[in-house]
């Protein structure tokens, strides 16, 4: 075992992770000489944030009619009133500064003729405030942040280090344990402060827009460390995923004016959201598409055996598409041979985002089961649930949450170290040795059992895709829960066929699968308990929102046999819930 000492250890190198690292180093400037470890299970710049496409919301032009109130209202209404309103209020104010800051660090935002930043429409907004750089917004933001991070020298990168556990003792964060994939060595990152920014868990599903690396490791780490997860049953389905892979076709396509059309050539959104049409929030559009498909107005795709509807961009014209949606055109040509300039794209909902996450407070501090902050541990981005997005995230609110919370957490971490001057923690060696034995002794060296990692993963994906999708019913979720429990039992009997140390992806996938099974159980059981329909969680057997009983956050804790659930109230400071009509 190798022990590495750092002041701050950041797990996950998407937008939130990089922004946090930059903020710590930027505040420090050599004053305290903080050393930062940036840990990722893939290479830096390979994180899934690069696939974010459409835009980043921020209030840039109050003189043209936008305002912080409006953005906060859009976000809260979009969340189906499950968002914590104090957090939203803080978030909308910081977003503006972040957009301008990363502009100065190099993001090539699309511009107006006078050189100012241009914005466009996005689903659920009442003002076109999605700031964008073509349709590769997340990618360019990542570029700018990565490049800026390279400027600093007080950090080390740990590419391809898979974090296996968070070391917490007496409610105090004491570091991360990890496997260095390149050598297969076991590492202990001893750090005064830790940040989890590992993103979402789209790989639980078969059809997802998320990267192969988005397996929800951060959720699993926290859950297994006895920390609560919040609102996990809310899984966002992006309405427009390319058939059959589920590759993301950005909401900006509809922001630019694309139509959704069913088999009969009808713009069906007029039935579901007569005023906003295609630009309704994602949950509503996803449900509309699934409803069309369920009622037999979807188009059947013979190659994949999937039903879909069309996304029609032909009326936009080639110039507009080339300027604003070049990547979508590329994806269409590349994967289907379809040029969106003269043909519509086949699309259906695809798993896109986890609204829920690690239970954190408004500063991004991770909270424990009794609601008190864990000393020295933060979470940011999709891995955390503040909650800004409530039960449904608005399009273009994901990247800015990463930036804003990267900023807030970075500052908070720095303030904590500056004020409290913590010393390096010293955990009990037994804890670390037990973890090493769990991985290398009990998992890698295991001779018995015959279950196959990939077989279980396949079955898990099929189960989630079939039973815990856009529309859910109690009986189906129960089937899912039973199946997941069975898979968990079988998981105990897995046996790895790759016994080497160097780049043992088999081992990595087995550990990921462990996290995924836990998460699937939390999601399915949470969904089963929530007997209402709110935002992304739509129950066919309980079709209405139930503010009297369910205006509260779900908190899931790991118990001896499966998760245990409790509930905490939503912070409502500005607007009382009203009916959500678009």
């Amino acid at each position: 075992m190798e022990t590495l000492d750092y002041d701050v250890a950041i797990v996950g190198t998407g937008l939130a992770g990089l922004r946090t690292a930059i903020e710590v180093l930027r505040r420090d400037k050599g004053k305290l000489g903080l050393r930062v470890a940036v840990i990722s299970k893939i290479y830096l710049m390979r994180s899934h944030s690069v696939s974010a496409e459409g835009g980043t919301s921020a209030v840039l032009y109050p003189e043209e009619g936008d305002s912080f109130e409006l953005m906060a209202w859009d976000t809260i209404k979009g969340s189906d009133f499950l968002a914590d309103q104090d957090a939203v209020w803080r978030f909308v104010h910081i977003a503006t500064q972040e957009i301008r800051l990363i502009e100065r660090w190099g993001v090539p935002w699309n511009r107006r003729e006078d050189g100012r930043i241009e914005q466009r429409w996005f689903g659920g907004l009442s003002f076109p405030r999605a700031t964008y750089a073509q349709d590769k917004t997340g990618f360019f933001e990542m570029r700018a942040l990565y490049d800026t991070l390279l400027k600093y020298d007080n950090w080390d990168r740990f590419d391809e280090n898979f974090v296996t556990s968070i070391v917490i003792e007496n409610n105090e964060f004491k570091g991360f344990t990890a496997i260095d994939l390149k050598t297969g060595n076991f590492r202990y990152f001893r750090a005064k402060a830790g940040v989890i920014a590992t993103g979402g868990a789209g790989q639980l599903y078969r059809i997802t827009s998320m990267a192969a690396s988005s397996t929800g490791d951060g959720y699993g780490l926290a859950y297994n460390a006895g920390l609560p997860l919040k609102d996990m049953e809310f899984v966002q389905f992006h309405p427009t995923g390319l058939v059959p892979r589920g590759i993301l076709i950005t909401e900006a396509a509809r922001g630019e004016g694309a139509y959704l059309v069913n088999k009969d050539g009808e713009r069906f959104m007029q039935k579901y959201a007569p005023s906003k049409m295609e630009l309704a929030p994602r949950d509503i559009v996803s449900r509309a598409i699934m409803k069309e498909i369920m009622e037999g107005r979807g188009v059947y795709d013979e190659k994949s055996g999937l039903y879909h509807v069309w996304l029609d961009m032909r009326h936009l014209g080639k110039d507009r598409i080339e300027q604003r949606l070049p990547f979508i055109r590329e994806i269409g040509l590349k994967y289907l041979g379809i040029d969106i300039v003269d043909q519509p794209l086949p699309i259906r909902p695809t798993v896109h985002y986890n609204m829920g996450g690690i239970h954190v407070d408004i500063d991004g501090k991770v909270l424990n089961s009794s609601g008190m902050p864990v000393k020295g541990l933060w979470a940011a981005g999709e891995a955390a649930c503040v909650s800004i997005h409530g039960s449904n995230r608005l399009g273009s609110n994901g990247t800015n949450e990463c930036l804003v919370y990267g900023y807030i957490v970075g500052n908070d971490v720095y303030n904590y170290i500056e004020k409290e001057r913590p010393s390096l923690p010293s955990p009990s060696q037994n804890l670390l040795l037990a973890e090493e034995d769990r991985i290398f002794g009990k998992l890698l060296g295991k001779e018995s059992g015959g279950e196959d990692v990939y077989q279980i993963k396949d079955e898990l994906k099929d189960t989630m895709e079939k039973y815990v999708h856009v529309y859910r019913t109690g009986s189906e979720i129960e089937k899912a829960v039973t199946k997941i429990r069975e898979l968990k039992e079988r998981y105990k009997n897995i046996r790895l066929s790759d016994r080497s140390r160097v780049f043992n992806y088999n081992l990595e996938h087995a550990l990921e699968l462990g996290f995924m099974l836990d998460l699937a159980e939390v999601i399915a059981q949470g969904a089963l308990l929530r007997t209402e329909s709110r935002g992304a969680h739509a129950r066919l057997d309980y079709p209405n929102r139930d503010d009297a009983n369910w205006l509260k956050h779900t908190i899931a804790l790991k118990g001896p046999d499966g998760p245990s659930f409790s509930y905490i109230p939503v912070k409502i400071t500005m607007w009382k819930p009203v009916a959500r009509v678009y």
Partner: protein, 154 residues
């Protein structure tokens, strides 16, 4: 970075560098440019050595001439290859000077459009290359005819 890397890199080295199979036309011109460059350097060295015999007096010079004469048709073929190398290296070198010093034939920075065809390898560049090939071929054939005519074959 700093010191020479000793570790083995996969499919690296001089031969791989000169092996343009599967790649673009420009990489073929690159290989040819390097090879003709080496030929020209060897020729120049040999040429300097030849000229050096002038300083050793008429006898030495005559001997050198006789040695070259004894090569027969191989001398002419050698000269022909050298002429070809010089023609190609010069013409392609001219194109590279246009590219590298004046930034011509490269196209302006654009918004890349899928399928990505890089402007630096697009029409203008290709026209320049084919023009070079054409001119060099024509001159080379002419040089060949001239050499053969000198030998009295035609």
């Amino acid at each position: 970075m700093g010191e020479e890397k000793k570790e083995k890199r996969y499919k690296s080295g001089l031969l791989r560098s000169l092996w343009p199979y599967n790649f673009n036309v420009e990489r073929y011109t690159y290989t040819l440019h390097r090879i003709t460059g080496v030929i020209l350097i060897l020729y120049l060295m040999a040429h300097v050595f030849e000229i050096y015999h002038v300083a050793l007096g008429p006898v030495a010079w005559e001997q050198t001439m006789a040695l070259l004469g004894s090569l027969g048709i191989w001398e002419k073929i050698g000269l022909w290859i050298i002429a070809g190398s010089a023609l190609y290296h010069g013409a392609n070198g001219f194109r590279l000077i246009l590219n590298e010093v004046f930034g011509m034939l490269l196209g302006k920075p654009v918004l890349p459009e899928y399928p990505y065809t890089p402007t630096s390898l697009s029409r203008n560049q290709k026209i320049a290359i084919y023009l070079i090939v054409l001119v060099v071929e024509a001159l080379w054939i002419w040089a060949g005819i001239y050499l053969l005519w000198g030998l009295g074959i035609i």
